[in-house]
């Protein structure tokens, strides 16, 4: 899958910007999977184009380049029109008499100079007109780095259109009109010197097309002076300049523009490839391709939070309790109003001991059930409360006293536990006092 480097770079950058909102885990899994699929097929890791096709279904957003496409079209159109107008102007401005060859040569060389300056500016990365584009803050940031090359491409395309339409206009005029060329200059120069200059300019073609090189006779006879106003000895001879001028325009304007347009395109693609290679997302992508994806199942959602219960202050335990049951070894030596009958259940006690505690407790008076708040309520305790209710009847008040130690938050599970029991005679009561060190393990 081969794609032009510039759209590839833009699509890659856009995808990179989108990926910045994804988790690293997702990106690694996605890209490593693609690399593994290729590996299984015996192929190398995917290219950027293949990767983009896989993650983005080949979607390409033409918007970032639209502005430049329009600019290139505008330059080309303007160049084409200007080419016709300039050539017509050149052929007519000197009037019906003679068209000054010197002016024509100067225009061709100026075009060559402009083309070279444009290319040089792009190669040097100079952007004197950058302010025009910097106003557009919504364009792709990566395009800013390519402005010199994009501008050069547009300018060279415009210049080529200019050169081609100008050449076509020249040929059309040669065909339909009798053009009389001559040369004139204020400088003190002789015809042989001028001919030497023309001969030098014709070096690209003089070896294989000598007919298109102006001879000494043509040069000598076509010189004119504005104040002379005389006619040439042989008017037909003056038209003999056109092959030279056509090839001059072709070799010094059209072909350089064509070559420099190709160069600008090559330079643009090369720069885009380099930007892609140096893109911060590129190395990270290659790394994701090459690094095994270690998954510890961490993408699962967290467990649900426990239900909130009303955090009202727990009442004090009921007075005149007849029995204290120490559940799973919970104890409070300094418990005020400690009942006389103290029994043990739960924890390391056997089930028989639990039953014995139920039998020996006084169901006529409130029963205090001492528990460790930092040990969560278990099914064992729930069973014991079920058995107690079945054994003692529904009216015996059971006061659940959680020893909170130094962590009042430990009471929350006990609140929820008591609420779930839906037992009106089961009361969660405030712990008598902060538990002493010997009670808290």
């Amino acid at each position: 899958m081969s794609r032009s480097p510039l759209p590839l770079l833009l699509d890659f950058d856009a995808q990179y910007q989108r990926d910045r909102d994804q988790t690293p885990a997702f990106l690694h899994r996605r890209d490593r999977r693609l690399a593994l699929a290729r590996e299984e097929a015996g192929a190398e890791p995917p290219s950027v184009a293949e990767w983009l096709h896989a993650v983005n279904a080949g979607h390409h957003d033409p918007a970032p380049l639209r502005r430049w496409r329009r600019a290139t079209l505008a330059f080309t159109g303007a160049g084409a029109v200007l080419g016709v107008l300039t050539m017509l102007g050149l052929l007519y401005v000197t009037g019906p008499a003679r068209i000054n060859v010197t002016l024509f040569v100067a225009l061709a060389l100026l075009q060559l100079l402009l083309a070279l300056a444009t290319a040089g500016q792009a190669l040097a990365g100079w952007r004197p007109w950058g302010g025009l584009f910097d106003r557009d803050r919504h364009g792709a940031p990566v395009l800013r780095q390519l402005q010199p090359q994009l501008a050069a491409r547009a300018a060279q395309a415009g210049g080529l259109a200019f050169a081609l339409t100008a050449l076509a206009t020249l040929l059309a005029q040669v065909l339909v009109r009798d053009l009389a060329f001559g040369w004139s200059t204020t400088l003190q120069t002789s015809a042989p010197a001028y001919q030497q200059l023309m001969d030098a300019l014709a070096w690209p073609w003089r070896a294989w097309l000598p007919a298109a090189v102006p001879g000494p006779e043509l040069v000598a006879q076509s010189r004119y002076f504005r104040l002379e106003g005389g006619t040439p000895a042989d008017p037909a001879l003056l038209g003999g300049w056109w092959p030279f001028l056509t090839l001059l325009w072709l070799c010094y304007v059209v072909l350089p523009r064509l070559a420099l347009l190709a160069l600008s395109r090559w330079h643009l693609n090369r720069r885009a490839r380099r930007l892609l290679r140096d893109h911060p997302g590129y190395a990270a992508l290659r790394e994701r391709f090459a690094t095994p994806w270690v998954d510890s199942g961490a993408d699962e959602p967290p467990g649900p939070a426990p239900a909130r219960v009303e955090d009202t202050p727990a009442p004090p335990p009921p007075d005149h309790a007849g029995t204290l049951i120490r559940w799973a070894g919970a104890d409070h030596p300094a418990l005020p109003q400690r009942p006389d009958r103290v029994l043990d259940a739960g924890g390391s006690a056997s089930l028989e001991q639990d039953r014995d505690a139920l039998n020996r407790a006084d169901p006529e008076r409130p029963v205090w059930l001492l528990v460790r708040a930092w040990e969560p309520p278990t099914g064992d305790l729930a069973d014991f409360l079920d058995d107690a209710r079945a054994h003692w009847g529904p009216d015996t008040v059971i006061a659940l006293l959680p020893l909170t130690g130094d962590d009042p938050a430990a009471l929350a599970p006990w609140r929820r536990f008591a609420a779930r029991r839906e037992d009106p005679a089961l009361r969660l009561c405030a712990p008598p006092a902060p538990v002493s060190e010997e009670a808290r393990p």
Partner: protein
């Protein structure tokens, strides 16, 4: 093909089973201290590499009625040889009994072949009340390992070790909240010792986890370098109307610039936390503060080790690096004059800018007039050479804490500004490269050379910071 090693993490409720799974599975979303009594199923956390599972941790509910289960088993067993079958029979018999739902859930994976990881809390004294649980597990006949977790301040490890040694093949201490990464790996290797066929996959998993850690460190440094680039180059711009107040605009742009810098720093924090799979982290950190010049105070300079002397030295080195290029061009004929001149200029420049812009972040620049009136005004990029060091130091401290934080941790991550003389750990050459990279950050996304230089400088800084921080922790 050998069966996948599976490990059921079992124990009494609230003894840290989930915190151990959270740490080993790198998942801070695992509910810790889920309330017993609420219906709960086993959760499986496989570790897979490129989709190929290497082992699986199973977080199970705690024992709810171990005495009743043991009584049932004892009542239905004739001899020691039928104990595993009796446990299986118990699960078959009580699968639909809600009272024994938790026991069935925790015993099922064990009966299916999982190894046993029995978790106790070493901060509370040993109590025989958990012997029923241990006895049930022994009845299953599966390979087992006991883990002594420490949830509180108490220390009863010796008692627990002695008691657990009677029931389990291997007894290990493991503080799920504070154990360093190497201890995680060592524990996983310990799991592999439970059965010969589990050793190879666990060893392989350890290798992958170690590589993953290295990869994450590299990515974290790249993220920090990226954020530094953004922050060092950030510019806020607006149109200054012809009749507008310049000072008011500068004030407004400076505020927006500061807000953007804070947002970018927070974005980096989230990126690094996501990289290490900390998705439920509560962070306490003083935001980048400029009010009253806090960020640029002498105290902050001291705190982050960026003194005038440091700037001058690093500036000299960075300048000398550039000057050495001139010497190289002169093929050594300049006798090192280029490096010397470059160094002096670098040091002078660092001192000059350090003084000139100390306490001043950036300045308002007015650009060419705009069509339709007014001028474009820009605030930034930052000019104070200290800024990069402060952002980098804060980022490295955050990275260190996140990368060394276990997923069982629930305390907020606190990032304070203590004394941070980590730069002293940085070799001289790396200091100079860091200074140069901070002075010349990448100008655009495609500025590969500078980007690489900054990333390398941050990578070196990260290694030095790690060394410094690890040394401090060891000293403590």
């Amino acid at each position: 093909m050998t069966a996948l090693p599976r490990f059921a993490v079992v124990g009494h409720p609230n003894k840290g089973k989930s915190s151990i799974v959270a740490t080993l599975a790198q998942n801070d979303g695992i509910a810790i201290a889920l309330e017993p009594g609420t219906t709960r199923d086993s959760q499986r956390y496989p570790l897979s590499v490129d989709g190929r599972p290497l082992y699986e941790l199973i977080d199970t509910p705690g024992f709810q009625r171990p005495r009743k289960v043991l009584a049932w088993l004892q009542a239905h067993s004739a001899s020691a040889s039928d104990r595993p079958d009796t446990v299986r029979a118990f699960v078959t018999q009580h699968r639909d009994d809600p009272r024994f739902h938790d026991e069935c859930e925790l015993l099922t994976p064990i009966l299916e072949g999982a190894g046993i990881l029995y978790v106790v809390d070493g901060a509370v004294p040993y109590s025989p009340e958990q012997e029923a649980e241990m006895e049930i597990l022994r009845w299953t006949g599966r390979p087992s390992l006991a883990l002594i977790n420490r949830i509180g301040e108490g220390d009863h490890l010796d008692d627990w070790r002695a008691a657990l040694g009677q029931y389990f093949q291997i007894v290990r201490d493991f503080d799920a909240v504070h154990a360093p990464f190497e201890t995680h790996l060592s524990l996983l290797r310990g799991f592999g010792q439970l059965a010969p066929e589990w050793e190879a996959p666990l060893e392989e998993a350890v290798g992958y986890l170690r590589d993953q850690r290295g990869h994450r460190q590299h990515r974290a440094m790249a993220l920090i370098a990226e954020a530094l680039t953004d922050m060092l180059l950030h510019v806020e711009s607006a149109r200054l109307a012809d009749d507008a107040n310049r000072d008011a605009l500068e004030h407004d742009l400076a505020r927006r610039w500061r807000d953007r810098q804070r947002q970018r720093e927070q974005h980096l924090r989230r990126d690094v936390e996501a990289l290490y799979q900390h998705r439920h982290l509560h962070r306490r950190e003083q935001a980048l503060d400029w009010q009253g010049g806090d960020l640029f105070s002498e105290q902050t300079r001291r705190a982050w080790g960026v003194s005038r002397a440091y700037l001058a030295t690093a500036g000299f080195g960075a300048g000398a690096l550039g000057g050495a290029g001139v010497d190289a061009l002169a093929a050594g004929h300049s006798l090192g004059t280029g490096a010397l001149i470059g160094g002096v200029l670098g040091a002078a420049g660092s001192l000059y800018y350090g003084e000139k812009y100390a306490g001043k972040l950036a300045a308002l620049k007015l650009l060419a007039p705009l069509t339709g009136g007014g001028r474009r005004a820009e605030f930034g990029p930052v000019r104070d050479p200290q800024f990069g060091y402060v952002v980098l130091g804060r980022a490295l401290e955050h990275w260190f804490q996140v990368s060394h934080r276990n997923h069982a941790g629930r305390d907020p991550l606190t990032l304070d500004q203590g004394d941070r003389h980590w730069l002293e750990q940085l070799p001289r050459g790396d200091r100079q490269r860091l200074q140069k990279a901070l002075q010349n950050p990448p100008r655009h996304p495609g500025d590969g050379k500078r980007h690489q230089a900054l990333e390398q400088a941050v990578e070196n800084a990260g290694a030095a910071f790690l060394q410094w921080r690890s040394g401090n922790d060891d000293a403590e």
